[in-house]
């Protein structure tokens, strides 16, 4: 028997959050993200609000897809890189994806309630109003690591702006962070066309 993410979460709200329930919620969220349903459309529409317009529709779509892949690939309780000068071993925390999916639902619900239309159908200015309202009161003093973002909008921002693509866009140069290049090439700068 298949069950929707929302139905599962409604049931799970009354259940003890054991690992199996959390894993199931994550799996359902990931499955829904991979489909062409409302959450996917809301996520893409969110990209238009929180990512730079210079990316264009194609670049925004690529950035949102990269974030979607990040969510799909998230693993709980994975061993993290060792700290220096400590014997403590750290592990990744509970999946943030389930929470972020609920926030996408909430953005869409707010759009429908206020404007009678899905979030993805609103113009960018109205979408931004809803996003700003959703983020009101949230702690914004630093760009968080992606997995530590409280809200899906911040997570998408954090994911993109930590990327080598964003660095190149900022500097107008093909810095190519974290990518392989011939050693000799690192002494030169390659300007990007739009710079």
């Amino acid at each position: 028997m298949s069950i929707s993410r929302r139905a599962f979460l409604a049931w799970a709200a009354g259940a003890v959050p054991v690992a199996a329930v959390v894993r199931r919620a994550h799996a359902l969220s990931v499955a829904e993200l991979s489909a062409e349903g409302a959450p996917s459309q809301t996520l893409l529409a969110l990209g238009d609000v929180v990512l730079p317009s210079e990316l264009g529709a194609e670049g925004t779509s690529r950035a949102v897809d990269a974030f979607r892949r990040w969510m799909v690939g998230y693993r709980e309780h994975a061993e993290l890189t060792h700290g220096y000068g400590t014997s403590r071993i750290r592990y990744s925390g509970p999946t943030p994806v389930t929470r972020w999916m609920s926030q996408l639902d909430a953005l869409d619900a707010a759009a429908r309630q206020r404007y009678g239309t899905p979030f993805a159908s609103l113009d960018v200015a109205r979408r931004e109003q809803l996003v700003r309202a959703a983020l009101a009161g949230a702690r914004m003093d630093r760009m968080p690591a992606v997995g530590e973002a409280d809200h899906v909008a911040v997570a998408l921002v954090a994911h993109f702006f930590a990327s080598p693509v964003a660095t190149d866009l900022c500097y107008g140069v093909a810095i190519g962070r974290e990518s392989c290049r011939p050693l000799a090439a690192s002494g030169e700068l390659v300007l990007l066309k739009h710079s």
């Binding site: 317009s53 630093r142 810095i175 290049r181």
Partner: protein, 529 residues
């Protein structure tokens, strides 16, 4: 069940010093059986490392999964939990400066600390040998600062665009800097590819351009020169009855915890780094050695060494493009090669390195007025703040080790076999503690001078309390009353027991120390032949 292995040489640990010893002994031309015992697991093959790197970049996951033993939560500043084939040098940054001649004679030259029983000249051929085994790409610094008898095995890693600009800046401050020597291939070397500057040397090089000990182990295993037993934890070294020679190592195979494994050998080489070497010797207390092996002096676990760093971020009115290669740096030995006359009669020695940096220049979510930034506003703000660049500068300064910088057995924490875990604590020698404010002020002053020379400003300075590149615990010396091993690493108390690499260090110097540990281990191996 009791199993016995008989061998000529038993090496305990498989980190970088162990790899140097095995390499040297295996290629000495004299046939000998070498058994290497490693408590941890083997590491993933090179072919898997790109995928592991991707997970590390995206999620911060450890690219060396299961590289530690569970239940080894140590009290004190352990440098790393790594316990696997290759040890901590699977994570290292591949930075390979040599110590300078002064490091070995600080008592004679400056009246503080302790002299080593050996000189730079004694170690020089082994530095060269280590550089050739590891594959070091380096630039010869000015001769007076950077003495060496032969050229580096490989040409230097070229300066990036950013480092080229930063070099011009530091020259205005009267500082000669050059490309940091590194165990990273600048050309194909040792069957491994040249560096492609993808900038994740630490924690993982996905293409094998950076040396790590697994390459040595894989080659030696393939040539059947060594037998490497993984998941085999040595719990004790046992003396021959009524004699001072070591008879065998007592180990547990982690996959057969109820069985006992004895490894009998003619020579035993303890190569467990600054923690696990002294730990094993202390665990090996027995009749005839009630305080542990090699511990007649009471100094096993004492005089742990390291160096502290002062670091600053300096804003400069030049456009930099951080991200080309943030792990490569400029280096100088100008402040290592000083005399008391240069420093007002006081002992202040430190290295100096300069990196490109993006510190404080990343994208942000709020403006200076606290307004939330989204989309184009983030990009505009980011571009505005990156019109000029920042450099990271850091100086490691020598901390004189105190006897109370020590590793002891911690009765309150035990491993799965009931053995007490080590407990670590570090303390500056009183003379070093007294010098500390002067030293750090002097380094801050240098950073200010550098900033001014480039019309820049020091944005922030911080001092890391952690003593980096820790070593010692089985220090070398000529007097058995004040040292654990002789000038070659052989224990004073047991003629067939050696300690190699980091633990034998007398002091931590003021530069990354791994190459020195390798050279010390090779010097020991040469003596074993």
């Amino acid at each position: 069940m009791r199993s016995v292995i008989e061998t000529d040489v038993c090496i305990i640990g498989s980190g970088i010093s162990a790899a140097m010893v095995a390499e040297r002994l295996a290629h000495s031309g004299t046939a000998r059986d070498i058994v290497v015992l490693e408590a941890g697991d083997d590491v993933p093959p090179l072919a898997n490392r790109y995928a592991l790197r991707e997970r590390a970049l995206a999620y911060g996951e450890n690219p060396w999964p299961n590289d530690h033993l569970d239940g080894y939560d140590v009290d004190g500043p352990l440098q790393s939990r790594s316990m696997c084939v290759g040890g901590l040098a699977m994570h290292w940054g591949g930075v390979t400066p040599r110590f300078s001649p002064e490091d070995f004679h600080v008592r004679s030259l400056f009246g503080v600390g302790h002299d080593w029983p050996i000189s730079y000249d004694d170690l020089e051929p082994h530095y060269q040998e280590a550089e050739e085994i590891l594959g070091v790409a380096g630039e010869q610094g000015p001769g007076a600062m950077d003495p060496r008898a032969k050229p580096f095995p490989m040409p230097p890693l070229p300066l990036t665009y950013n480092l080229g600009l930063l070099k011009q800046w530091v020259e205005k401050a009267g500082i000669a800097m050059w490309s940091q020597p590194s165990a990273k291939n600048s050309v194909p070397y040792g069957g491994r590819a040249p560096c492609c500057r993808n900038d994740t040397c630490s924690p993982i090089c996905p293409i094998g351009a950076k040396y790590s000990p697994d390459f040595t182990w894989n080659a030696l295993r393939q040539a059947r020169k060594v037998r490497l037993e993984t998941r085999t934890l040595v719990r004790q070294l046992v003396l021959e009855r009524g004699r001072s020679r070591v008879s065998h190592a007592l180990a547990v195979a982690r996959d057969r915890p109820r069985d006992t494994l004895e490894i009998h050998a003619k020579q035993f080489v303890v190569a467990g780094g600054y923690v696990w070497s002294a730990h094993l010797l202390l665990l090996s207390a027995q009749p005839g050695a009630p305080n542990g092996l090699a511990n007649r002096s009471g100094l096993v676990g004492k005089y742990l060494t390291g160096h502290r760093n002062v670091q600053a971020i300096i804003a400069l009115p030049i456009r930099l493009y951080p991200g080309i290669n943030e792990q490569h740096s400029l280096v100088t030995k100008q402040f290592m090669r000083v005399t008391p006359a240069d420093t007002g009669g006081r002992y202040v020695r430190h290295d100096l390195r300069v990196w490109e940096s993006a510190a404080g220049r990343g994208a942000r979510l709020t403006s200076d007025t606290g307004a939330l930034l989204l989309g184009d506003a983030i990009l505009r703000d980011w571009r505005e703040r990156t019109k000029t660049g920042v450099a990271r500068v850091r100086a490691y300064y020598d901390v004189i080790p105190d006897r109370a910088s020590e590793l002891t057995l911690d009765a309150s924490r035990r491993n799965a076999w009931g053995d007490p875990l080590p407990k670590l604590s570090f303390r500056d020698d009183p003379a070093s503690a007294e010098l500390r404010p002067f030293t750090e002020e002097r380094i801050r002053g240098l950073f200010s001078t550098m900033a001014r020379a480039g019309a820049g400003t020091v944005v922030r300075t911080n001092v890391d309390e952690f003593q980096d590149h820790p070593a010692g615990g089985c220090r070398m010396g000529d007097d058995p009353a004040t040292s654990v091993v002789d000038r070659y690493g052989r224990t004073h108390d047991h003629e067939n027991l050696w300690v190699v690499g980091a633990p034998t260090s007398v002091s931590g110097g003021c530069a990354n120390a791994t190459l020195t540990f390798c050279a010390l281990a090779l010097r020991s191996a040469a003596r074993m032949l």
